[in-house]
């Protein structure tokens, strides 16, 4: 500190001036605040731009499309048949299967890591789990097509050895297990030790403590894990495109053993490396419409989950 720079009156008399902020410091503070604010603003602006472009093109589609083509027999965008329910059904089926796979496995892993594993085991397993989360989805797509389809879907469920909704769903499930496990484990670890002690002190067994005390107290975090996983599964593209069992077009189906296109896969199959989407007049705009539907579904899911969490949460 530069002592001569302080403006305390040499006579020792305290004035308002002597308590005023150093103008240089104040300028610096302002600068830092403004530049941090600017970075926040940029991300908001980008999000706004994305939503605007999504809405404007989707609006064109919704105004000009013949709505009969939006509720039809399947997804044939180049021939002007944009049956959205085909894509939504495939997306929901795959997400459902993925959550059936990842929910119990992820939660089970989280409970083991947080409540049962000895510290050494936990220190080893948790990083492995997080590495698993970093596996590129194209690798998992290949795995789903080449291993899950023939070995699980065909052998256990009698489905096709090639791609199907079930194969893609299981693949996406494997993909989101680490996500579910990691977030759930964090949520459970955050529950204060004192609550576990209170429960053990009353003669509760470990499983009882976990089910009756830890899980209810961690429910908002568990819900967050579930939502993130569902959003990830809904938005997952590569695995479902590779292993979903349909290339460019799909007839409506709700049989998991059939092949179909999800919203994301439908968009991918059209837009590959160029915006010169070939097809009928509105094919290009239909992409934005599907994107908008995906956005709305994900957004609605978040809202519902938020409501749910507020109702059942045990705040500690």
């Amino acid at each position: 500190m530069d002592v001569t720079d302080t403006r305390i009156d040499p006579a020792g008399e305290l004035t308002v001036e002597s308590l005023m902020a150093n103008p240089r410091q104040a300028r610096k503070e302002r600068l830092i605040r403004d530049s941090l604010g600017a970075t926040a603003l940029v991300s908001v602006l980008i999000s706004g731009l994305i939503i605007w472009s999504l809405f404007s093109e989707a609006w064109t589609f919704m105004v000009e499309v013949d709505w009969g083509a939006v509720w039809d027999i399947g997804w044939f965008p180049r021939r002007g048949i944009y049956d959205i329910k085909t894509l939504i059904a495939a997306s929901l089926i795959i997400t459902g299967i993925a959550m059936v796979v990842a929910g119990p496995l992820g939660l089970g892993a989280a409970i083991y890591l947080s409540e049962y594993a000895r510290p050494g085991v936990r220190r080893t397993l948790k990083p492995i789990l997080e590495i698993l989360a970093g596996i590129p989805s194209v690798v998992l797509g290949f795995f789903a097509l080449e291993w899950i389809a023939p070995n699980v879907v065909k052998t256990l469920f009698g489905g096709p050895a090639a791609g199907s909704l079930l194969a893609a769903g299981i693949g996406v499930g494997v993909l989101v297990i680490p996500l579910v496990a990691s977030i759930s484990e964090d949520a459970m670890k955050a529950v204060p030790m004192s609550l576990r002690e209170a429960s053990s002190g009353l003669g509760a067994r470990k499983l009882t403590t976990t089910v009756r005390v830890v899980l209810p107290a961690a429910v908002s975090g568990l819900m967050a894990a579930f939502i993130v996983a569902v959003s990830r599964a809904l938005g997952e593209t590569m695995v479902v495109f590779m292993a979903g069992g349909a290339a460019q077009t799909a007839v409506y189906t709700h049989d998991p053993l059939d092949g179909s296109l999800t919203m994301t896969a439908g968009m991918t199959s059209l837009a590959r490396g160029t915006d010169n989407v070939v097809g009928e007049g509105l094919t290009f705009q239909s992409l934005f419409f599907v994107g908008l539907v995906l956005f709305v579904v994900t957004f609605a899911l978040n809202l519902v989950a938020d409501r749910f969490v507020h109702r059942v949460r045990e705040q500690y």
């Binding site: 609550l195 209170a198 429960s199 053990s200 002190g201 009353l202 003669g203 009882t208 045990e314």
Partner: protein, 314 residues
């Protein structure tokens, strides 16, 4: 404190010290603290109506380790039935570690290890065949910081009876909840808000709720780990009154930083201190002296105890 209890207190202290001075000196040679305690028992029996020979916990050469660190060294003492036994001493002297041995709470810490003999009604509770869950159902615990579950007042009390399968019917459960809250002097304050979250209660109410929760499973012993350290003096007084009321039914072991509290409420006091171990330069908890509370505070046999209780140290 009010004057009546103070004069009773002084009388008892004088009577106790008198007995020691007159009869039993050679027998009460302070070789080991527990011997002293037991001999004094015989010595002051007529004087203290609550002194009985029933041992609840017999502790011998108890050592507690956390990894390589020895937290408690060779503690030996006996806790008697329907008495309040206080453990006092400076921070890091191992008193909480000892307390947490009594209901095998140390098992929850992966690195903790306990050696030595610890008998609960003559049963060695660290026997490998003993299930800690069964131990904890008989020995309740109240913690330093009130730790109600983030559930309703009712569900907090009902938790223990539910998980131990004590109450099958809703009406039985209602009875237990009302009785436990009544015993902990909380019923009148919360009877209209049983369905509200327990976290909405004040700190003192939360701690009484935790006591009610502990006695709802009808334990034999109540362990209390500095139960008043997070509370204001008024709430503290209420908890102390409560302990006096329930001590006819429960054996209570309490860890406290507050010497006045130990002097006010307990029948016996164990004084622990932290001793520097010269071989590894670590501090280790040591039981210095265990005796009737009056003796510990008026006529301790160890200089370290005297220094501590008179405020010259710690």
């Amino acid at each position: 404190m009010d004057t009546v209890s103070e004069s009773v207190w002084t009388d008892r202290v004088e009577a106790a010290t008198e007995t020691i001075r007159t009869g039993q000196m050679e027998q009460a040679e302070p070789q080991a603290a527990p011997r002293l305690g037991q001999d004094l028992d015989r010595a002051v029996q007529s004087d203290a109506p609550d002194a009985t020979g029933d041992a609840v916990f017999e502790v011998e050469d108890l050592n507690v380790y956390y990894g390589d660190f020895r937290a408690v060294q060779d503690a030996t003492f006996t806790v008697y039935k329907r008495e309040i036994t206080a453990m006092i001493g400076p921070s890091g002297c191992g008193k909480t570690s000892v307390l947490r041995c009594f209901n095998r709470m140390n098992d929850l810490i992966p690195t903790a290890r306990v050696e030595g003999r610890l008998d609960f009604h003559n049963v060695p509770i660290y026997d490998p065949r003993v299930d800690p869950v069964e131990v904890r159902r008989r020995i309740g615990m109240v913690f330093q910081k009130p730790n109600p579950f983030p559930k309703s007042v009712y569900d907090n009390i009902a938790f223990g009876p539910r998980v131990t399968g004590m109450a099958k019917k809703k009406s039985d459960l209602d009875d237990i909840v009302e009785r436990s809250l009544g015993r902990s002097a909380l019923w009148d304050e919360v009877k209209d808000r049983l369905k509200d979250s327990a976290l909405g209660l004040s700190g003192g109410q939360q701690q009484r709720l935790c006591i009610a929760r502990a006695i709802a499973v009808d334990p034999d012993v109540l362990l209390m780990d500095e139960p008043c350290s997070a509370l204001d003096p008024i709430a503290t007084t209420r908890i102390e009154d409560l302990m006096q009321e329930i001590k006819d039914d429960y054996t209570i072991v309490i860890v406290t930083h507050n010497m006045q509290q130990a002097a006010r409420i307990s029948n016996r006091t164990a004084f622990f201190t932290a001793q520097l171990d010269s071989t590894n330069d670590q501090r280790c908890g040591l039981l210095v002296e265990y005796d009737r509370t009056e003796t510990i505070f008026s006529n301790p046999s160890d200089e370290r105890t005297e220094n501590y209780v008179t405020g010259r140290f710690g």
